[in-house]
């Protein structure tokens, strides 16, 4: 199997795992981590497409796009972590109310 195919399949696997984590875990920090796992999967897949023509040289454009994408994902994650921290500090909760997870015992709901 060509190495680009292996990278592509790994990317797809990461996307699937991340999506599973995003949906099943109501904990907000875990969701942010899952978002990053999905993102890494997409970047890996994107990188693998750079070598899609075995004859030609590797296409450098996806690398540039991936780096930009990583910066964007980093910014979004930073904002997300900041919001989760502020939310946990104000409410004492780490999940959103309607997501069905038990709230921390002993803390009043909001």
């Amino acid at each position: 199997m060509a190495s680009s195919s292996i990278f592509g399949l790994c990317g797809a696997l990461l996307i699937g795992m991340g999506l599973y984590g995003f949906i099943t875990h109501p904990h907000l920090l875990r969701r942010l981590l899952a978002f990053n796992v999905i993102g890494s999967g997409i970047f890996l897949l994107f990188g693998a497409t750079a070598a899609r023509l075995p004859s030609a040289a590797t296409d450098p454009v996806p690398q540039a796009l991936i780096i930009t994408g990583i910066v964007v994902a980093l910014a979004a994650t930073a904002l997300g972590v900041g919001l989760v921290l502020a939310y946990a500090r104000v409410t004492g909760r780490t999940t959103l109310p309607e997501d069905g997870a038990p709230t921390d015992p002993g803390k009043p709901p909001r």
Partner: protein
Amino acid sequence: MSVSLAIVALVTAPLVAALIAVILPRWGPWLSLLVVAGNAAALVVLIPAIVSQGALTLPIGGWQAPLGITLRADGMALAFLTMAALVMAAVLVSARPEFGGGGEVTETRRQWAFWPLALLLWSALNVVFLSRDLFNLYVALELLTVSAVALVAIDGKADGLGAALRYLMFALLGSLAYLLGAALLYAQHGTLDIALLADQAIGGRAAVDMMAVGLMTAGLAAKTALFPFHAWLQPAHSGAPAPASAMLSALVPKASFAILIRIWFEALPGLATPPLLVTLGAMGAIAIVYGSVLALRQTRLKLMIAYSTVAQIGYLFLIFPLAGGDSYMQPWAAGAWTGVMFHALSHGLAKASMFLCAGLWIVAAGSDRIEAMRGLASATPMIASAFALAAVTLVGLPPSGGFTAKYLMLTSAFVSGQYVWAAVLLIGGLLSAAYLYRPLAVAFARDGDAVFKPVPRLAQAMPLMLALAAILLGLASQGPFALMQIGRPSSAEAGLQ
């Protein structure tokens, strides 16, 4: 030369001002006014230029499309840019009392954060309307989302933070879906430039393209808050401070919608199939009915307006069945396309006006319950007339921009024989009349024993200006109509097939 400068200024002026406002917090309000003036000047240069020369293209830094990023000022872009400029001008002026800091008052975090965030949002919006590169659009969309989420959380209270987090979760998944779609498109075509994609993909309906566009559409629909993905909208839009709500509700959904139009009508117009178009239209139709019914049941003004946004976003998605699918007859598909554009513009103006009205009324009445607004019309006549005019536009009564929009959409629905969508349009109009009647009836009631806080005149004038602009869009619809035809995609004439 001055034309390229104008295009560049539209993107960079708010961005630079936002960065300066981070460093020099007290300058925020003044910088914003400067950007409003600069943006207006750029539009004054650009609009006559594209009316006389047609759509203008600017390859950034002289790098041509496959490698570089192209900005293109066509009629649709300029119509949206102008709407955004009007809304932002009103929002930035009316935000001064709340976020301007009184000079002697110690500065709070929200006063510091508001101006850079609003300016960043504006910059991202302008890029979304101008850019022709799908990855550049992704970055702009992310900048837009991040600043919008931060604006929702700006008060740092539990409700706002929860709403912002819910919004962020939807938006993150949406942007990942979009990014994956973009990666697949790049793998298939080796370019993400809209014009080059359109050249490559003529007639083809490759499975990869279908999957990519499906992912991008789902992601963008989540960001636009189309019906099944709308759960984040009402807490976010009703929980934010009024000037922020106005931007969030009037402008932010239009950005992701504009990208959807670029993809479906310009980049890959050959992909649409009748079942797909009907599905998108059906989601829009459900959004119209569901949002309107829930808006009817709200007792809080801002929540009602937020649910009204859910409904009004539904109309945007009627563009898919009306300008495509069965309506192959050319003039009517074009009418539907233009009608939906008119709807997007008039909704932007009217909804921003309405949220600004709501913000002032809540300050005046000290509560956001609709019942608390009893008799407010005599105390704040300008706000009441602004709210009434905005309601006229949202219901779609003549002579407003909303009427022009509904008229064009209805005509194309009838002529193409798609009576279902016509019925949806009419029911939606009736329902919106019903839910907008209630706050107006309460405000105009004549039992004036309640005492209200006074509202500054300038703040009252801003929503009125927006509502009048929305009416003017209908009264003088010739100008915008002609503008939107410039550089319009040919598939908007022929219909998606």
